[in-house]
Amino acid sequence: MSREKVCKVKTEPEETPSFGHVSRRAFLSRLGATGAAAAASPLLGLAQTQVKQEQAETSVKVVGAISITLLVNGRQHQAQIDPRATLLDCLRETLHLTGTKKGCDHGQCGACTVHINGRRINSCLTFAAMHQGDEITTIEGIGQPGNLHPVQAAFVEHDGYQCGYCTSGQIMSAVALLNEPCGPANADVQELMSGNICRCGAYRNIIAAIQEVRQEAKQGVTNASI
């Protein structure tokens, strides 16, 4: 296995402000920066000096960074990452696939659920560099506006969320569940969905949405066999 000890990472050019085209992420991160600056005003002078020094360099050495290729939603992505980067952080921060959410970051909430070779896993508890050669599927690869996956459509129909933060993880789990051994009862689905926490408590609607898709799939198979 080849490992690059030292590599160059170019700093991204500063974003040009433009009204109407500021992404939600860019807006929030600027908001965060303003808030932090206001809170730390006595130290602002020092902070600004440090920022200037960092910007003066055109490239920085990242010791131990590695070059990886990931296959995400059918597309190859090349990236330079720290070996410590979890798959979750790599997807969100490096590949900017922000549909996958970070909740607990310790495998307890399921918000970060993605599929590896068709099976659901917690992307927060695995290193990105361990998944070269795997087929990774995120919520962005499941369906799109106008072409929703049946599970996504059922979540909309049954109101399977309130705040929506856990929803991409819930949907990724539910889509994988369709191909897993699972009994017919609501309790069977509840057991297999227990790794996805919804703090708004939309569980009843989530189960209803999943059961509807399972019913439809079953009927589809029955009709096809007739």
Binding site: R119, R120, L125, G195
Partner: protein, 334 residues
Amino acid sequence: MHPFELIRAIDVTEAIQGAAESSTAQQGVQVRFVGGGTTLIDLMKLNVEKPQKVIDINGLPLDKVEVLPDGGLKIGAVVRNSDLAHHAAVVRDYPVLSQALLSGASAQLRNMATTGGNLLQRTRCVYFRDTTMPCNKREPGTGCSAIGGFNRTLAILGTSEHCIASNPSDMSVALTALEATIHIQGTKGERSVPIDEFFLLPGDTPHRETVVEPGELITFVTLPPPSVGSKSIYLKLRDRASYEFALASAAVIANVQQDRITRIRIALGGVGTKPWRSLEAETALDGKTANEEHFRAAAEAALRDARPQSQNGFKVELAKRCLVRALKLATRTA
């Protein structure tokens, strides 16, 4: 998280040689193998684990479940918990193992967690996971914060004045009742260890949890042939109905002929510092009629040496009732 070098091993020998550089294979290890990562990466984020080198063993040819010529089972170290739980031979011949695996963690974690990794999973004691608190298991000699502290979920069997951390695994409890053998490969060759000898009691060295030495890799777990005509069950009691560690659990494998117990194997979970084989309960039941009086006597024998802490006294009676219920279910004639 501390920086580390990540290496993807392609053969067992290479993996072992890489790990042999470490001065220990226990807490404080410099080289760790990573399988599913569900324990290791969690603890690396908390700085409880600080390996300088991490060897990814997922590419090793240890991912098969094979039925052995004698009818036993050979389970590769990187077989996923979900695959093992649903394997036809496990469902048919070792239902206690399938049930134990499916009662643990979540569907996502079971898709990640491996057989070898599950054997090595670390305690959920809150003080072990919190680097600001004294913990003899994490930092030998610093003291045990759990004694007199938050110990509601911790062990009542096999504890010492240095550590009362409970072993969190469900799988290992079933494997203990099944009398599994752990196969380990190291720089000095291969060795096989009965599961009950694989785990160590905390004593005055709670940082040592297993017999694994530097460079040693768990390669396989083997199970003896299933006991013909036996019925087995894993019963797990916890604070939530799902996705929670056991407060008390029982793995029971029973053969009953005309209401008489001809063979019984019993292990308890959630109450011991290691997966807890109860030879006392087995002896109490051997050759006896399968009835509640005898089940209760066996449960009393199993928990006779229990040493409850300030918050977990309830576990003594809970574990007894758990075992009695499991014995009823395993000896019930359909």
